[in-house]
């Protein structure tokens, strides 16, 4: 097929180069400068897809973002992209596209049958059909899902790279059409730093598809001159192919730049797309307007197009999408399309205009247009409407009829006109989407027949988004917005008075309004626009051929009427019931028609009915772009200890603990997790083990009031701790629940080292800072996180003293000189260290703290010195088993924020004699926290010693009984204990401390009821003799 609809000359395309592309298995050609849509039209391709519900053939309607039909899937494999608008896809050599609606295929024939059953698929079809019978949805779901898809997401990883870029600018201008460019020019002259965005490949917007003049100069000359000025300024950044898709609080705007999508499916260099994160002092929305298509019978036939789109295809792409045109227009402005069509050497059959024949010509009509139309014998049928399109898979003609003055009834005889393109326009709708993202409510202007954006002091609007339709007036409005924005940026606000200033600024500087803008120009008054949304048909709406409102979701005028009959009144409800505006286009083409039809059906005004709220994203955004580089290894920071390489070399298996990667266990050849943990546990109990505990949080607490501070914030007393001694300590939240725990060591008179759990380190530091800064600013205390500065190496087990004695020459290690719960400073393998005699295993233990950079030296020295004792490195799993044998709680595993120290059976941790009421103390006396039947932490021993309880398993009183049964509690920790030769578990049981020796049952999902004896939490060495040797 050759480019039958391409003009010999004109357009912004490069005819010297051919681009080959494939659409729906058809090999076609276009030129650089084409979009996929313009190239398809040039090649005479009429049908670009089938509609979502009724499978009706659909063609290209628009030339921009508002296109509802021409959705394609680009490419194949990992880089395939679904739901790309053909009007937005720039053509490149080798482009491969297919419609997203599964076409052409055998399935099409099957599904198109549905078209014949259209009346059986009313709005609410899904609700109505699938609510009954009860399991019906399961049956229908796969059919519905298969036929309803808009495109297919790739299953493979995205091969492209995406990046994010932050910007700070004085003024962000969204849209580089006439108003946006004018705003940029005036803001630039005032000295502001400007970011100017446009979604198209070239800046210019509507100017690219128009003739005429701006500021007394030809459009093209004005545009190139303006762009040269902007590009010559180092204060202006112009980003094309960049769509602002989200407008968030405090003038934060997210915009997506498509760097390489116009060159191919995968970027050959650098990032495919850039997510621009823009912090703007002021925002100017110059986002323009979308033309509306009237609602009439069969208005979705391929060949029905927006009038402005027809002009754009002719001017910008040198494509005339047909031979014979009928223009259906409700304002003089749209007549230009007929002139453009004539200038392209094609035939205009008629202009159909519903405004009464007797009405005087509107002031906006340029006489030139009328003269041209008269000279070329174009019939102008005033007081007429197009009621219906003729032809099934394409426009073959239109049926027209006279219409009453209020456009509600037909009068007189209908007749048919032949044509292959119907260009239509029923007015313009400002693109207010972004202005709604931060909650602004648009207001309906009955004179302009448009929703206008809400006013905000830090966000201005300019041009057609203000319902200013005339080109020169848009430019004037842009100049004014640029000046106003800069003036407001100049008003430096102090934080203390910001609200007041904004209010006065809003009062002082009136929002740029249409009246202001037009008054300042000498241009004629805005042309009259007919308020026509639904065109009457000789049949009632319910029986007329389909009159489409939303093309993408096949929502018809009849569907909206039906929704009202069924009692829906709110536009938000009707939207959800009919799916109006639910497609990827978010109803850009059909929304206002939908609102107008609903208003009419409800007997309300459009202002009363209101519009649905627009929310981000304005256009679909690839997940890859939102993720940026925060994928794979960069998704979340990964923290490793200074000994990580050693663990890797030893073949350790790792687990994630918060952001930390910790050795889980160290399997020897052929060992399973259980095998390795069994060996590691027994090594610690019988010989000596080695643990990397560097992830423990460490906070250095210094200052004359350090002791007083710790007394206040911890549950127990620490000011009376001797220098060189350690104490276990606990933190509660103000509600009395356990927050964190650790060991506090006194380093000096005014200095302590507080350790925290691995996961709680950051939160504990923030907690301490909160109290210091907000409640006790008088305390002279300074907190420093030293978690990463110190590595912690645990040597534990009966042989640990002998291992350490080979490495410590300057520290006496015997029990009397270095007792349990003390610390000493000395050297280990020649490295200065703080050695602490604390134990999380219940065995004789030494925790060696050394500077992180010397950790490996010390660790390897311990490992070497321990060889004679078969020293065994162990991981977090063994650590958990060993502490569970001793009944040591792990905050965050055994507790969940609803557990008090009393519940844990640890009342001794609460010092009630301290003068200060530490956080949480008062709450422990609340009626709920002090009641005796709370769930309490106990040991759990299965009657069958080989049976291991599932962690999280629910505990109940009886082995049988139909659910629901009363839950007594649940299992928090469960292990196989090698030293005890049986399973052990910990968990919560209602009034558990009073139920020792009783039997409860763990009911599992597969119906088992495991008998369990409630036991003390300490399973091994209850007297604590082994650690105190």
């Amino acid at each position: 097929m050759n480019q039958v609809h391409r003009l010999e000359q004109g357009g912004r395309i490069d005819r010297t180069r051919q681009l080959r592309f494939v659409f729906a298995n058809q090999a076609l050609e276009g030129h650089p400068g084409d979009t996929l849509a313009s190239a398809l039209l040039a090649n005479g391709v009429r049908i670009v897809g089938r509609s979502f519900k009724y499978r009706r053939p659909r063609g290209i309607v628009a030339a921009g973002m508002e296109e509802p039909n021409a959705l394609v899937q680009l490419g194949a494999g990992a880089a395939t992209v679904p739901n790309i608008l053909a009007t937005q896809a720039e053509l490149y050599d080798g482009l491969l596209a297919r419609p997203v609606t599964g076409w052409p295929s055998a399935r099409l024939d099957l599904l198109s049958v549905i078209s014949a059953f259209g009346p059986l698929l009313p709005p609410g079809f899904y609700n109505k059909t699938f609510m009954w019978p009860r399991h019906g949805w399961r049956f229908y779901e796969r059919f519905i899902r298969a036929m309803a898809g808009f495109g297919k997401a790739p299953r493979e990883a995205d091969p492209d790279v995406y990046v994010k870029l932050n910007h700070h600018c004085d003024v962000l201008i969204v849209g580089a059409g006439p108003a946006g460019i004018a705003a940029a020019l005036s803001a630039m002259r005032a000295g502001a730093r400007i970011l100017l965005l446009d979604e198209q490949a070239e800046a210019g917007g509507s100017l690219l598809g128009e003739s005429g003049s701006v500021d007394g100069r030809p459009v093209a000359e004005w545009l190139s001159n303006a762009l040269a000025q902007l590009q010559g300024s180092d204060r202006v950044t112009l980003l094309t192919r960049t769509t602002a898709f989200g407008y968030y609080d405090h003038n934060f705007v997210a915009a997506l730049e498509r760097r390489s999508d116009h060159l191919g499916l995968v970027a050959t260099t650098g990032a495919r797309q850039i997510l621009h994160r823009i912090h703007a002092g002021r925002v100017i929305l110059a986002t323009g307007a979308f033309e509306r298509l009237p609602v009439f019978a069969n208005n979705d036939r391929p060949g029905v197009m927006l009038a402005s789109a027809v002009s754009t295809y002719i001017h910008r792409y040198a494509v005339v999408p047909g031979r014979r045109l009928v223009l259906f227009a409700t304002a003089d402005r749209a007549y230009q399309t007929a002139i453009d069509w004539l200038d392209a050497g094609r035939e205009v059959i008629a202009i159909v205009d519903p405004r009464p024949a007797a009405a005087p010509l509107a002031g906006g009509m340029e006489n030139r247009l009328l003269d041209v139309l008269a000279r070329r014998n174009v019939q102008l049928l005033r007081g007429h409407v197009v009621t219906e399109v003729l032809g099934r898979d394409r426009v073959r003609g239109v049926r027209i009829a006279p219409v009453s003055d209020d456009f509600r009834a037909l009068g007189g005889r209908a007749r048919d006109l032949p044509c292959d393109v119907l260009a239509a326009s029923s007015g313009w709708s400002p693109v207010i989407h972004l202005s709604c993202h931060t909650g602004g409510r648009p207001r309906w202007d009955a004179g302009k027949l448009a929703f206008l954006p809400a006013a905000r002091p830090d966000c201005l609007t300019a041009g057609a988004v203000n319902a200013i339709w005339e080109r020169q007036a848009c430019v004037e409005d842009g100049y004014r917005a640029g000046e106003t924005a800069v003036a407001r940026v100049g008003e430096q606000e102090t934080a203390a008075a910001r609200v007041g200033e904004q209010e006065t600024a809003a009062a002082r500087v009136p929002r740029v309004t249409l009246a202001n803008a037009t008054a300042s120009t000498s241009v004629e008054a805005a042309p009259e626009q007919a308020a026509l949304f639904l065109v009457p048909h000789r049949l009632p709406v319910s029986r007329a051929p389909a009159q489409f409102v939303d093309f993408q979701n096949d929502v018809t005028a009849a569907a909206i009427r039906l929704a009202v009959r069924e009692g829906y009144e709110s536009i938000e409800h009707v939207k959800r019931y009919t799916a109006l505006g639910f497609g990827t286009d978010q109803g850009k083409l059909g929304n206002i028609n939908g609102v107008a039809l609903l208003a009419e059906a409800l007997g309300k005004s459009i202002a009363e009915t209101g519009t649905t709220m627009f929310r981000p994203a304005y256009t679909p955004v690839a997940f890859g772009a939102l993720a940026g580089r925060d994928v794979g290894a960069l998704f979340d920071p990964e923290r490793v200890t200074p000994l990580h390489d050693w663990h890797l070399e030893q073949g350790a298996v790792f687990e994630n603990v918060g952001q930390w990667t910790r050795p889980w266990y160290y399997p020897r050849a052929g060992e399973s997790l259980d095998d390795a943990v069994h060996r590691e546990c027994l090594a610690v109990r019988r010989g000596v083990g080695l643990l990397d505990a560097s992830t423990l949080g460490k906070i250095d607490v210094q200052g004359p009031d350090a002791g007083e501070f710790l007394d206040r914030i911890y549950t127990n007393r620490l000011s009376n701790l001797g220098i060189g001694r350690c104490r276990y300590a606990m933190l509660l939240k103000e509600d009395g629940m356990v927050f964190d725990d650790g060991v506090v060591a006194r380093i000096g008179q005014n200095r302590y080292l507080a350790t925290t759990t691995t996961g709680g380190a950051a939160a504990v530091l923030r907690w301490m800072e909160l109290w210091l800064q907000t409640e006790w600013p008088d305390l002279r205390v300074w907190l420093t996180s030293v978690t990463d500065q110190w590595a912690t190496i645990v040597v534990t087990g009966p042989d640990s003293r002998q291992v350490l004695s080979r490495l410590c020459q300057d520290t006496a290690l015997d029990r009397d000189a270095f007792p349990f719960m003390t610390w000493r400073s000395g050297t280990v393998a020649g490295v200065s260290a703080r050695i602490m005699r604390i134990s999380f295993t219940g065995e004789l233990s030494f925790e060696i703290n050394v500077p992180a950079e010397q950790a490996r030296t010390v660790w390897e020295a311990c490992y070497e010195a321990g060889r004679a004792f078969d020293i065994t490195p162990y991981g977090t799993e063994t650590m958990h088993v060993l502490r569970a044998e001793k009944g040591f709680v792990i905050i965050g595993q055994d507790t969940d924020g609803s557990v008090t120290p009393i519940d844990l059976g640890m009342p001794w941790i609460l010092n009630q004699r301290k003068p200060f009421s530490f956080p949480g103390k008062r709450s422990l006396a609340r009626s709920d926290t002090s009641r005796p039947d709370r769930k309490q932490w106990v040991g759990l021993l299965t009657v069958d010693p080989a049976k291991r309880l599932p962690e999280g398993g629910q505990l109940v009183d009886a082995p049988d009984g139909e659910p629901p049964v009363t839950m007594l509690g649940h299992v928090t920790s469960s292990y196989l204990s090698p030293v005890l030769g049986r399973t052990i578990a910990l968990g919560f049981v209602t009034s558990g401390h009073q139920r020792l020796g009783e039997t409860v049952y763990c009911r599992t999902a597969n119906g088992e009821a495991i008998p369990v004896t409630v036991a003390p939490t300490v399973f091994f060495d209850p007297e604590g003799e082994r650690q105190n040797v």
């Binding site: 405090h250 909650g439 934080a495 609200v499 909160l770 907000t774 409640e775 609340r926």
Partner: protein, 98 residues
């Protein structure tokens, strides 16, 4: 994305640097043990949750690590003022609701 003025850094910074820390001006009772459960519960659990001007605390976690006070409108998200903990927020002179 809020831009928050830190009164210690004396700059507007991105929301990502901060952590919200609850309503400001919640005074901890000096003698908790002397309160009954209702009074203690009021301090512990009840917050004003206004529609409009809200005094709140923020923490400059990835900055100076200072807590400070902010006057934020819960409808418009406008930040009217921020100040140090030992200073007072200006009460909104007018109803800032739209």
């Amino acid at each position: 994305m809020l831009r928050i003025h830190c009164p210690y850094c004396c700059e507007d910074r991105a929301e990502e640097e901060f952590v919200y820390a609850g309503e400001a001006g919640i005074t901890r009772p000096l003698a908790p043990e002397q309160l009954d459960d209702a009074a203690w519960g009021d301090y512990l659990f009840f917050r004003t949750n206004p529609r409009g001007a809200h005094q709140e605390m923020w923490f400059h976690a990835s900055g100076c690590r200072r807590y400070f006070k902010v006057l934020r409108d819960t409808v418009t998200y406008a930040l009217a003022a921020s100040c140090r903990m030992d200073e007072s927020l200006p009460l909104p002179a007018v109803d800032v609701l739209p």
